[in-house]
Symmetry: C2
Amino acid sequence: MSARSSLESRLAQAAALIEPVLERVLPRERDLFISEAVWYHMRTGGKHIRPAICLLTCGQFGGEVGSALNFAAAVEILHNVLLIHDDLEDGDTMRRDQQTVWARFGAGNAINVGDYMLAVALKTIMDSPISDAKRVRLARVFSDAFQDTCRGQALDINWRGIASIVVDDYLKLVTLKTGRYMALGMVGGGIIADADEGVIELLGELGQRMGAAFQIRDDTIDLTFGKGRGGVTGNDIREGKSSILYAHAICAADAAQKRELIRIMVKPRAETDDADVEKVRSLYRELGSMEFAERKARALVEDAFQIIERLPPSNREFFREITDYMVSRSK
Amino acid sequence: MSARSSLESRLAQAAALIEPVLERVLPRERDLFISEAVWYHMRTGGKHIRPAICLLTCGQFGGEVGSALNFAAAVEILHNVLLIHDDLEDGDTMRRDQQTVWARFGAGNAINVGDYMLAVALKTIMDSPISDAKRVRLARVFSDAFQDTCRGQALDINWRGIASIVVDDYLKLVTLKTGRYMALGMVGGGIIADADEGVIELLGELGQRMGAAFQIRDDTIDLTFGKGRGGVTGNDIREGKSSILYAHAICAADAAQKRELIRIMVKPRAETDDADVEKVRSLYRELGSMEFAERKARALVEDAFQIIERLPPSNREFFREITDYMVSRSK
């Protein structure tokens, strides 16, 4: 069995432990007009990668996996809240090839169901079979990561089609929006396992690099395979999102290219047609934006590997595998 | 000085203690595209009644007010999150006679800013100068009340203009949506002050009655003075909300009246004109719905007073005053 398939099977085993916790804290029939929407969304898949990494990280540092189940489930719930709310914020009607929650149940229910799930996530952390001191610490890191994710999302929403973005702005955005909560499961796993403070800090750094690299690959996938929206590619262009491709192109473009790029990006989604998407795609090709994105993703993975070298030797192989897995897989 | 004005000044003094906490946990200049919207909303007033009641309750049971400041601020933040999200869920463009957050900053920012504030509220509880055991307990009651508020909101959203609602359904809705988080500040104040378990439970019961009575009065105010939406009355009718007036009328109406009532309630907001509102208003008058609402509010206040009789004698006068104040004031 290759290292990768062995990791995949360990992740799948860990992910399977999360299902019963989710079923317990979010019973399928409990709440009128809420439970149905929760499970409509949750059943559309997702491999529970983040909670699985949380559990395996806890195990890596000698912690009991059972004591991390609640926190891991809370991380998965937060992830799904962010998807439900983001889909509405972005006006996306499809996810994983089915209607998004707001498209199916209305905007009001989508907001409210997400809020409800957040409350459940908090309760789930508090019900962890660990000391009160650890519960409090987990709630703090949960809140910090969640706050930063919202900060990143604020940049994402308000920086669409702007002319002044540079690649560093983009990296700040994705580190906040994707990196901080990618790190959350690992940080929580480390805390629960009583890992050294230095190690916990490194896990936070590592997760942020992984998250940023993951997001860059996701940006490029949007132009190649599409992001589970019925095979449609170029969704980021239609939405005018500040992807790494856009951030690179807007810096590298000449005045005429810049005008054309911005013109298409600021167009309302419904008015952006396939020809517009093709124009931007060929501009990205001409300016080498895809190659730039690839180089940047590789540099972040290099950074991650440097961080891993500072972890205890016996843990390094595991985190190298995780990094490879997260950055190379498609969503 | 009358009892009422003395209570008002004590509430105002307590409310003044919350301002600096809010300024500290939500700095005005911290976050691009977030802080501006937070303070645009927060500065539109609100008397910080819920956190003030939390602080005075803590004092009533011999607790240090300083140790309750963080929790009280978290209650106020939650209240404002719910307003920001509810305004969007309801499509309300005006609150306290200015544009709502979503109308001013867009739906995406309104959702995201609310989420961010929730994360801050959680952190604020965790930073309370109290034991970890109490922090955990406060997070639990916070989560419980927040979950129930969302459950109530789910009924509110999905029970609009339905034919089968009865008054008990309405009471369930408002007890969840308004009562549980009205009680939250008092319950938290009791926990922080180490009040007896029995007392804490009574405070929860009391807050729920107060909240339901408050909401019933609020429903009637919508038809008399309007709810701070530029003097417009009948907003609940335009939105098709299941108010107590609607729940009563739909039970008391004959078949023709029922058809007419439902026809107007299910109309999209933009198509409901002043003549429709007048028709419903006169139907409510004919059926005695306003008087019914008034009787129901008074019965809930009576219930509240019965609960207060089971509190320690030295605390009773305070909670009677609070109940009177909450139920009789306009928003």
